[in-house]
Structure formats: C-alpha cells, structure tokens
C-alpha cells in the first residue's frame, strides 16, 4: 500500500471534491425528474426530449398555441425573437399547456397559479425579461465578454434566455436550478453592474 504523502493527500482531496461536486447536482432527484410519473414514460429524458433525437421535442400543441406572446407582458413582447432556451421552458412554465401533453397521455396537470414556477401570465412585468438582446452598450451592465467569461452564464445569440440563468438539467445542484451559486447575488451581478 502506498504511503500517503502530501501530494497524494491533496490529489485525493480534490478528486473527492470534484466527484462530490458532480454528485450534488444532476437531473436525477431534481424537480425536473419526472421519471416516476406515469405520463413521462418512465425515464429521465422523454418528458422533454423525443426519442429520435436529442433536440427538444416538437410538441404537437406547440404550433397551435404559438400565440404565447398574448399571455406575456411587456418584457416578453420580444419573445417571438426568443430562442429555444426560452420557448421550451415556457411550454410548461407559462401555465397554458399541460405538461403531460408531450407524452400524449391525459392532460390536465398544469403548472398552476399556486406554483411559484408559473411565469408570464397576467402581470408581464413581474418577471425578468427573456428573449431580449443583452444591453451590451448600457453602462449599467457589464460587457458581454465579462459575462460569458466564466462559462456559466450563456447568452445564446447575444440574448438573455431562461437558460442564461437556469440549467434545466440541474448540473450545478444550486437552488432554483441556477447555473451557478447566487450567494452574494453573484449570478445577478454577473450582468448587472450594481
């Protein structure tokens, strides 16, 4: 048996930390883990992803209910320009589409009004804008390069989307499925120069 040295002790420590870090997050056991629901098909992915591809599933009802803009208030008026990082989320989180329509099972389970995960209905100003261009020339905001430098916050096509702040796969394990810790409001201050 190798006698532990300082080097190996440190190596072991960091290895454990990294493994532990992975173990903290993850989809399994998170609120997005619908595998135990009867409508989800019993696995982690098919609630959101079709079996054929890893791209977001084209929900049958999606096109017919495309007037999502109707229910979105001011900041979401640009959501026509919103990318998949927003629209996929709002399929469930705007509360208009039953989330189990994806699997073709019976509908009726809405993200409802009592659920804090309901956004964009009625009072549109109550939510952080998504699908908007990042105000890169506003002195109240940090430069794009500084925002994306750490690799945690993404600005797909230069826009702020749901997945700029949230990771639906919960890889970080942070509360609210944030991409990184918001201790000391660090996530907010990644963009906001306040």
């Amino acid at each position: 048996m190798m006698k532990p040295t300082r080097v190996t002790a440190c190596f072991l420590f960091f290895t454990l930390m990294i493994i532990g870090g992975w173990a903290w997050g993850g989809l399994e056991g998170s609120k997005h883990d619908f595998s135990n629901k009867d409508w989800s098909g019993g696995d982690l992915c098919s609630a959101c992803h079709s079996a054929e591809s890893d791209k977001p599933a084209a929900a049958p009802l999606w096109e017919e209910n495309a007037d999502l803009n109707r229910t979105f208030g001011m900041p979401l008026t640009q959501s026509k320009a919103a990318g998949p990082g927003t629209n996929v989320c709002l399929r469930c989180h705007d509360g208009t589409i039953a989330r189990d329509t994806i699997s073709g099972a019976e509908g009726g389970r809405f993200v409802n009004r009592e659920n804090p995960g309901l956004f964009g209905t009625g009072h549109g100003t109550g939510d952080h804008p998504v699908g908007v261009d990042y105000p890169q020339f506003d002195r109240d905001y940090r430069p794009v390069t500084s925002v994306t430098a750490a690799g945690t916050v993404q600005l797909p096509d230069g826009k702020v989307e749901c997945n700029s702040c949230h990771d639906p796969h919960n890889m970080s394990g942070e509360e609210y499925m944030l991409v990184t810790s918001n201790a000391r409001s660090a996530l907010c201050l990644t963009c906001h120069k306040k």
Binding site: R6, A9, C10, L118, H128, S185, C188, L189
Partner: protein, 601 residues
C-alpha cells in the same frame, strides 16, 4: 500523525478555492455597501442566514408590477409632506420609486418582508425594521427635502432660484413625468460618495445642480475657508467636511430630519442657525454679544414669526438675522473701518436682502441700506412705538426721510438748504448719510471699535453708535451729545455759529438737542417749511405752550437764513414771538434780546 498533516494541507487549499470562487466587486457596487443586507453585509442591520444581496429589493420572478422587478410591498402609509411658504411646487404624497425606498426607510415595514417569500416567513434580520436614527425618515416627511413634485419648466419659470430642468445634469435623473424622487439624488446601488449620493455634496455640488440661489456662488458662505472641524456647528451631527465652503448648504441646512422643518434648517430657533457660527466660534465677529446688548436687534425676541414670504406692512413684530441679511448672498464687508458714509448703496453683508423703497414699494433686492430698515421701521403696522411726545408725531421713518419734507437728515437724498455751518468735513451740504451712521453697534469698526459694523446692538438706546442724552438738564459735554458731535462740530455749535443762542440753551440752560430737534425729519404732510425747518419739532414733555392773545401755542417760525422766532414756555421761561438771528453768518438782521431778560411780552 499522517492524518493531522493531511488536514493541515487541506484547510488552506480549501480556503484558496473558496476565495477564488467568491466574487469581488469594487466600492461602487451595492455589495458591501450599507444596502448589502445579506448575512455577510457590513452593517449592523443584516440578514441572519440569507446570502443573496439583491433579494431584499428585487426578484427575477413573480415580482411586483412595479419596475424594476420589485420584491417588496408598497407601504400604505399616509405621509406628512413638506410644506413651505416659499415653495412654488405642488408636493404630492410620495409615489413611484420613492415609495420603494420608503418601504424600508419610513421605519414601519419589516425589512425581511419580501414578496418572494410568504408573509409568514420573512427573511430573518438582525433588526425587524430600520431602527430610529438617521436612516429612519419616519412617516413625517415634512422635515425632509420634498419629493414627489414635478420639476418642470413651469416650476422653474415661477421660482427663479431653481434652474430650468433642461440644464440640470443627467446624473440626477428625474421621474417619467419629470418628478423629483429619492432616486434623483441617491443611487441605492452605489455608495462610493457616501450617503448613496449621485453627485458629491462637497461645496454643495449636488444642491446647486438644481438650486440657483441668487448671489450664492460669490457669497461669503460659499467661499469661506473657515474651519468647522473640532467646533460644534450642530451638536446632533458632525459636519462632513472641514470648511464652511466645503460644507456649503449643509452648514445651515439639513436635508433629512431637519429640526426646523420649513426650509430644513439645523436649528429650530432662527437666530441659532446664524449665531452658532457668528458667536466668535467660527465667524470673525461675535454678533451674539452685540444683539444681546441693552438696545439690540435681538433675534431671541420671537421665534416662529419670521417668514421669508411675509408682507412687511402687515407682519407681526419680530426681528431675525435674515430680516436684514440674505445668507445665500451675503459677502464680507468691503467697507471695514471706513465710515459707511462712503457709500449709501447696499454693501456685502446686506446684498440681495429684501426691503421697501422710499416710495413704499416692496423690493426683493434692496439697493439702499435704508430700504432694509423701512421694512420694519417704515409703514409696517408692527413698527416701534414713539419714544418722545412731539408737536408732530410720526413713527413711520419712511415718511420722516422723504426728500420733499421741510427738513430731514439726508438719508434718502441730499438736502437743498444753503447753510449747514457745523458739518465736519468730509461731510458738506449735499452729503448723504445712512441709517447706520447713527444707529450702529457701539463697538462697530466704522466707529473705531473692534466689532462688526451694523445695527446689531448697542449699549446706547435706541441702538445708537455713540452716546446721546435726551434727558432735560443734561450738562453739556462731548460725551453727552457724542452722537451729534460726530458730524456736527461741537465748537461750531457751542460758539453759536448756526443758531445764535445754541450755547445759551445747551450749555447754560442744559437743554438737550432732542428737546428742539427731531433728528429723523418732519413729514411734509404734517409740517411745513415755516414751522418745521431745521428739524425743529419740540419735545412736549419739556416745551409747554405759552399763553398768547391768539391762544396757547407752541410754535417756531423760520424767518430766513439762521433766523426765526419762538413761542412757548420752557424751563419756566415764556417766549412769545421771541426772535433770533445770526448776523455774523448772514442771518436776517432783527431785534436781538438777551435771554437773561427772562419773560418777554
């Protein structure tokens, strides 16, 4: 052993890692400012566990309808709002962003009560609400700078002492309808300048961005380098900067929780705001010791009566420093030890003070010193009562000094008489004097004293610069009539160069000047140039009527240059048409009888 060594290495490594992930921001961030209420915030008021900073005011989801993503309920408090007789703005109940600030700063709502959490489970804080103190504005906003009023062109057109909103720097943002809010002056996210100010308040830069007080930029208060440190300017608050000019407006004004609500002054009693420095503590002269003298313009006389918007004619009787001085425009006295006859126009300390002109019209910017005096001593119903009972009674000094009067001291304009033999040069016929030549502090520099110029207070009543006896049977001396002899040569008077019987009356009969002369003047509406030339207006407590065939009379008749006759009883002697003339000086020749003859009939 091995385990201990491992632990010894692991702990610093963990610390380094933690430090790398921690986000550090510069001073201009809300993080680590007083508004950082998170558990690691710097102030005594902070959360017990909550680690986020923004969450106390903002939330990304399900926020209040109010931008920007507001996370607090609006207070439903009714606020007492600022009121002032001199404001032209319509001040409403606070609204918009101001209400957001007040949701903590009115001291009524719980700090941890945020919309993103149930009311029953607020964020646990070290203090439930803002504790009483500087940050607690209370629901009484009448002692705070007004908010919630429109600052637009209409306002700046009425109020000439604020700048048009277009020229106000964009660093001070107004509301969507051009209203002033808390956020106009304060940036809640940036405490770099202290007090979360958007512009520095050094030399009142942030105040003068909007306020354009007439004369301020060159005033003594804006330029004075006198040090305020180590001296108690306001016992309740240490001033921020070291000198009067750096503190600027804040030397006298308090923007929040001002003890004197109206006009936001540091002290409730008007004079305290001035005398706190002008009592020898910071300013050069001790005015406090002057006004407390026997005869003084004592600001302690009344409190709460003075109002800058008052109407001089109807105001209640009072005196405050600001009745004569405009602290926004006052400058150092350029005259110094020079006699104030040097000029009659308003000088440094009285610049831009209000007054009443010789024609009785109000003015915001008195041009002559007497105009300031006329505010209270002219037409005002509160003017001082009479002291001496005379033939002609007039207490309105504005009327007494009219240049069309039969006789008057030349304050509002020169006299037109051809003789005035006793004047001491440089005074001569045609000279103009000021009120303060006679009414001044007894230790004024212009009277060779060491104190401040101006009628602040004197040991000689009524606020005279030198002694002036008015009691009958006063022994004549340079001291007894020092006031008169300052301009009228004692030698000339005693040697009878003007009135041929001066010596007989003043020295022999010990009659004071004031028995025959009414020093201000005789109003043309009451007297005429025959009976009231040469400031003759007899003191009826000494001068009695004489029985004449035409009835009991007290009368002086001017019969020409330096000649005339008198009818009255004085000191037991009766004169009836008793004539005098000074032939040596060109007076009209007439019969001259010796005074010693006694009763003349």
């Amino acid at each position: 052993m091995t385990m201990r060594r491992t632990a010894g290495w692991a702990t610093p490594a963990l610390l380094v890692l933690t430090n790398l992930t921690a986000v550090t921001f510069a001073d201009e961030s809300v993080v680590n400012s007083k508004h950082d209420l998170s558990a690691r915030g710097p102030g005594p008021i902070r959360a017990v566990q909550e680690g986020r900073v923004c969450i106390f005011c903002h939330t990304p989801h399900n926020a209040a309808p109010q931008t920007p993503l507001w996370n607090r309920a609006n207070p439903r408090t009714y606020y007492r709002i600022y009121e002032s007789s001199t404001t032209d703005a319509r001040i409403d109940q606070p609204y918009g962003p101001s209400k957001m600030c007040l949701s903590c700063h009115d001291g009524s709502m719980a700090l941890g009560n945020v919309l993103s959490r149930p009311v029953t489970h607020p964020i646990v804080m070290t203090a439930r609400t803002i504790p009483p103190g500087m940050a607690d504005l209370t629901n009484d906003l009448s002692d705070d700078h007004p908010i919630g009023f429109r600052y637009d062109r209409a306002l700046s057109n009425i109020d000439r002492q604020i700048r048009p909103p277009e020229v106000v720097t964009r660093d001070l943002p107004l509301g969507v309808h051009s209203e002033v809010h808390c956020t106009t002056c304060h940036d809640p996210h940036n405490d770099e300048l202290g007090d979360f100010l958007r512009i520095s308040d050094q030399m009142s830069a942030i105040c003068v961005a909007c306020h354009d007080m007439k004369g301020w930029m060159h005033s003594g208060h804006a330029t004075s380098g006198k040090r305020t440190t180590g001296r108690t300017v306001d016992p309740q608050e240490r001033l921020k900067y070291a000198t009067v000019s750096d503190n600027g407006c804040l030397t006298c004004h308090k923007i929040h929780s001002a003890p004197h609500r109206e006009r936001l002054l540091r002290f409730e009693r008007e004079e305290d705001n001035c005398l706190n420095c002008h009592s020898g503590a910071i300013a050069g002269f001790n005015i406090a010791s002057d006004i407390y003298k026997r005869s003084g313009h004592d600001g302690r006389f009344r409190t709460g009566v003075h109002d800058p918007a008052e109407i001089p004619f109807t105001m209640r009787r009072h005196v405050e420093c600001v009745d004569c001085h405009n602290p926004h425009a006052a400058r150092h006295n350029p005259i110094g030890t020079v006699r104030s006859t040097f000029g009659q126009t308003v000088k440094g300390p009285n610049l831009n003070a209000s007054g009443v002109t010789i024609t009785g019209r109000e003015t915001d910017d008195a041009k002559f010193l007497y105009e300031i005096c006329f505010k209270c001593h002219g037409d005002s119903v509160s003017r001082p009562r009479i002291r001496t009972s005379r033939q002609v009674t007039q207490t309105n000094t504005r009327l007494e000094f009219q240049v069309s009067n039969p006789s008057f001291h030349p304050v509002a304009g020169p006299r037109r008489n051809s003789t005035s033999v006793s004047l001491i040069p440089p005074l001569r016929i045609g000279s103009i004097i000021t009120c303060t030549d006679c009414h001044n502090s007894d230790n004024a520099r212009s009277a060779r004293g060491s104190g401040a110029n101006g009628p602040h207070g004197s040991i000689f009543e009524p606020l005279l610069v030198r002694n002036y006896e008015t009691d009958d049977f006063t022994t004549e001396s340079a001291q007894a009539y020092a006031l008169c002899y300052g301009c009228h040569s004692q030698d000339s008077i005693i040697n009878n160069e003007s009135f041929s019987l001066h010596s007989r009356h003043i020295v022999d009969a010990r009659t004071p000047c004031s028995v025959c002369h009414d020093s201000h003047g005789i109003y043309r509406g009451q007297g005429n140039s025959v009976n009231h030339s040469n400031l003759i207006n007899f003191d009826l407590s000494v001068v009695m009527p004489a029985d004449t065939p035409s009835g009991r009379r007290v009368e002086y008749v001017d019969t020409g240059t330096l000649s005339g006759n008198c009818t009255m009883t004085c000191h037991g002697l009766t004169h009836i048409n008793f004539p005098y003339a000074n032939t040596a000086r060109g007076g009209t020749p007439s019969r001259v009888r010796s005074f010693s003859l006694g009763v003349n009939r």
